[in-house]
Amino acid sequence: MMEAKPSNLPKSFIDQPVVPGDVVLDLSSMANQTIKLGGGLRQDCDALSVMKSGKLRFLKPNKYWVESSQKRYAPSVGDNILGIMVDSKADNFLVDIKGPALAYLPVLAFEGGTRRNIPKFEVGTLLYVRVVKANTGMNPELSCTDATGKAAEYGPLKDGYMFESSTGLARMLLNSPTCPVLETLGKKLSFEIAVGLNGRVWVNAEDPSTVILVSNAIMNSESLSGLQQKIMVDKLLQRVQ
C-alpha cells in the first residue's frame, strides 16, 4: 500500500503482457490517491516496475497486480489448493503443494481436532486444503478448516482422478462467470471437480470415460479462447457419443 499523486492511468498496459523491467505507472503524475500493489510489481521511487512476466491486471478502484502462469506454485494466504500427503510427523502432516518447500498441515487443523482423534492418511492421499501461513523462509502452513473452524469442503478427496495444470489454467477454471469449458461440459455430463490454485485439478464421475473426457478437455483448453473452448468440447462430446 502506498500514497500517490494525481491519477493518470496508462490504459495501454492494463491487460497487456508485461515483462520484468517494464515501468507501468508513473506515480509523479498521479493524483493523491492510494493504490494497492499485488504480486509481481515493485515501487522504485515514482516508478512502478514489473518483476515477473505475465499480464498486468487492474481492479477498480486501485488494485494492480501481474498475473502469470507457471508450473510452480508460490503459496499465498487464503488460497484453496490441492496437496499430496508425503509424510506424517508427530505434530504435522507433510504435504506437497507444488511449491518451493513442503507445507505443514498440523494434525489438529481439522474440524473438532483434538489429540485423541488425529486422522490417519496413507502416503499419497489427495487433500483439499487452505493456506493459512505463507511467510518467506518458513514452510507454508495449511488447514483443513475454514476461518470459522468448520470442515466446509476441506479434507481428503476420495477416488476420481487428479491431473496437473499450470496455475494460470487453474485460475481460469475458478473464474466467474464459469469458464466456457466447464459450462459446456456441465450441460451434457455430470461430474465433480475440485480446482486447486496451485495447478492441480481433481475430477470425479460415475463413469471413468467421463472423467477422462473432462480432464482431457480441461488440459486442452489451456491456450484457447472462449469460443474455441466451446467448439473443442462439442467435438469431443460428439466423438464419444
Binding site: V86, D159, Y161, P208, V211, I212
Partner: protein, 449 residues
C-alpha cells in the same frame, strides 16, 4: 528435521493414490487416461537441426534430442577393419526432477544399453564401411541422446531419435595419399560432399506395459502409467519382421500368447515408425539440397557483383592513391597494428567515409582473390587442419600490411600473401556473406568510439 531429506521429498514427483487407482480401473474398462486405446501410439514428431546428424523427437510429452558425431580412432584388436558405434545418454534434471545431474542413474544406463543392443548387435549400421586403414584408423561414431522432457516411454523416443540422427549424419570424405598411401587426407565439407552412413535396416523399439495379474497390456506407456505398471517389455523389430532384441523387466509374469500378440503388434508399429522416419529424413535431405544450391548462388552473386564494378579501377587507381595519400596511411597504421588482422583495413575503409573509398575497393579485391584462392586451396591444402595455421597468421598479415604501406609497387603481391593466410581460416561460405555483416557492425562500433 533433516532439511536435505525434506528438500528431496519436495523435489520428487509424487503420485496420488487416486491416480493409481483410477489408471487401473480405467484400464479394466479398456481406456487410458489420455483418451487413447490400449494399442494406440502417441503422436510422433521428428525434427532435424540445421547441422547434419542432429534430430529432435517428440512423442507426446516426451522430448528427446539426438546428436551424432564422428572421429578417427584406432580400431579394437578383434575387429581390425570395423568402425565403432557408441551410445551415450544424458538425463537432465530439467526433464524429470528424479534425474540426478552428473550421475548416470539406473534408468540412464538401461536406456543406453537397450538402444545400443538394438542398433549394434543387429548390425543396423554398416561398420566395415567405416574403416579407413585396417588395423590403424577407423571412424568412431558417437550418438548422444539428451532427454529433454520425460513424459514416459523414453526408450522408444530415444531409439527413434538415434535412428533419425544416424540417418542424416554425414561423415567427411577422405582420401589416402602420401608415402605408401598411408596418409589420410580429410576433405572439408565445402570441398567434397560428406558421405552418409550405410544403414541396412531400422531396428525400432516398441515398449509394452503390463498391469495387474490379468495381463492388461498397453503400448507406449506415459510416465504416469509407468509408475503404476507391474512390468514392461521392449521389443526391437525392423520392417522385415526380424526381432533384434527383447527386454523384459518387472515382476509380472506374462503368458507366451500375450508375448506373441505383442510382437505382432510391434511389427506393425515398427513399419509405421520406419516409414515416418524415412519420410522425415527424405524431406530433410531435399531441404538440405535446396539449401546447398541457394548457398552457392548467393555466394556467387556476392562475390562477383562488386568485383565486376570495381575490378578494373581498383588495381590501378587504388594503389596509386594509396601512395598519393601518405597522411591517410599514417592514420591507417595504428589501427591495423592494434587489431593485427587484415580485416581491420576493411573496417577502416568503411568507417572513414568518402576519402577512403579506395580502401574499400581494395578490400573488395581482396575478397575476390580470397574466394578464388579458396577454390584453389580447397584442392591443394586441406590435409592440414586449419588450427595449425592460425597462430602464424596475425604477424604475417601485419607485415604484409606494412609491406603494402612502404612499397606500393609490390602491394598486389602483398595483398595476395595476406589473403593466402586469411583464407585458410575462413571457408568459402564464411568468406562472403558474414564478412559484410561483420564489416558493418564493426564500422558502427568505430563510429561510436
Amino acid at each position: 528435521m533433516n532439511i536435505k531429506m525434506e528438500q528431496r521429498l519436495a523435489n520428487t514427483w509424487k503420485m496420488t493414490v487416486n491416480e493409481k487407482k483410477f489408471i487401473e480401473t480405467a484400464l479394466v474398462a479398456d481406456i487410458r487416461v489420455d483418451g487413447r486405446r490400449p494399442f494406440d501410439y502417441r503422436r510422433l514428431t521428428i525434427k532435424f537441426g540445421r547441422e547434419d546428424g542432429s534430430s529432435e523427437v517428440q512423442l507426446g510429452q516426451t522430448h528427446v534430442m539426438g546428436f551424432v558425431t564422428s572421429e578417427l580412432v584406432q580400431p579394437y584388436r578383434d575387429r581390425q577393419n570395423e568402425g565403432t558405434l557408441s551410445i551415450f545418454t544424458e538425463f537432465s534434471p530439467m526433464a524429470d526432477p528424479s534425474f540426478e545431474a552428473g550421475r548416470a542413474g539406473e534408468s540412464a544406463v538401461e536406456l543406453a544399453r537397450i538402444i545400443d543392443r538394438g542398433l549394434r548387435e543387429s548390425r543396423a549400421v554398416d561398420m566395415e564401411s567405416l574403416c579407413v586403414i585396417a588395423g590403424k584408423l577407423v571412424w568412431a561414431i558417437r550418438v548422444d541422446l539428451h532427454i529433454l522432457d520425460n513424459g514416459g516411454n523414453l526408450v522408444d523416443a530415444a531409439n527413434i531419435a538415434a535412428l533419425s540422427a544416424l540417418s542424416t549424419f554425414r561423415r567427411p570424405e577422405f582420401t589416402l595419399g602420401g608415402e605408401g598411401g598411408q596418409e589420410v587426407i580429410i576433405h572439408p565439407p565445402e570441398v567434397r560432399e560428406p558421405l552418409p552412413l550405410v544403414i541396412h535396416h531400422f531396428p525400432i523399439a516398441v515398449t509394452f506395459g503390463f498391469f495387474g495379474d490379468d495381463n492388461i497390456v498397453v503400448i507406449d506407456p506415459t510416465h504416469k502409467e509407468e509408475s503404476v505398471m507391474g512390468g514392461r517389455m521392449i521389443a526391437t523389430l525392423n520392417t522385415n519382421g526380424d526381432i533384434c532384441a527383447i527386454q523384459k523387466a518387472g515382476r509380472v509374469a506374462v503368458m507366451h500368447t500375450v508375448i506373441m500378440q505383442c510382437l505382432r503388434i510391434a511389427s506393425v508399429k515398427a513399419g509405421d515408425i520406419t516409414s515416418k522416419i524415412k519420410n522425415a529424413v527424405e524431406s530433410y535431405n531435399t531441404e538440405r539440397a535446396l539449401r546447398k544450391i541457394k548457398r552457392h548462388s548467393s555466394a556467387a552473386l556476392d562475390v562477383h557483383k562488386p568485383v565486376a564494378d570495381w575490378e578494373t579501377q581498383n588495381q590501378s587507381v587504388d594503389q596509386k592513391r594509396m601512395s598519393d595519400l601518405p597522411g591517410h596511411q599514417e592514420r591507417l597504421k595504428p589501427i591495423s597494428k592494434e587489431s593485427g588482422v587484415s580485416q581491420s583495413n576493411n573496417m577502416e575503409g568503411e568507417s572513414q567515409s568518402s576519402e577512403n573509398v579506395d580502401m574499400r575497393f581494395k578490400s573488395v579485391s581482396i575478397q575476390k582473390l580470397q574466394c578464388s584462392f579458396n577454390l584453389l586451396a580447397g584442392v591443394l591444402t586441406p590435409n592440414k587442419p586449419p588450427e595449425e595455421l592460425t597462430d602464424e597468421k596475425p604477424s604475417e598479415t601485419e607485415s604484409d600490411q606494412l609491406n603494402a604501406d612502404i612499397m606500393p609497387a609490390h602491394s598486389p603481391d602483398g595483398a595476395v600473401g595476406s589473403v593466402v593466410e586469411t583464407n585458410r581460416k575462413n571457408t568459402l561460405a564464411d568468406a562472403v556473406k558474414p564478412k559484410h555483416k561483420r564489416k558493418k557492425k564493426s564500422s558502427s562500433n568505430i563510429d561510436a568510439s
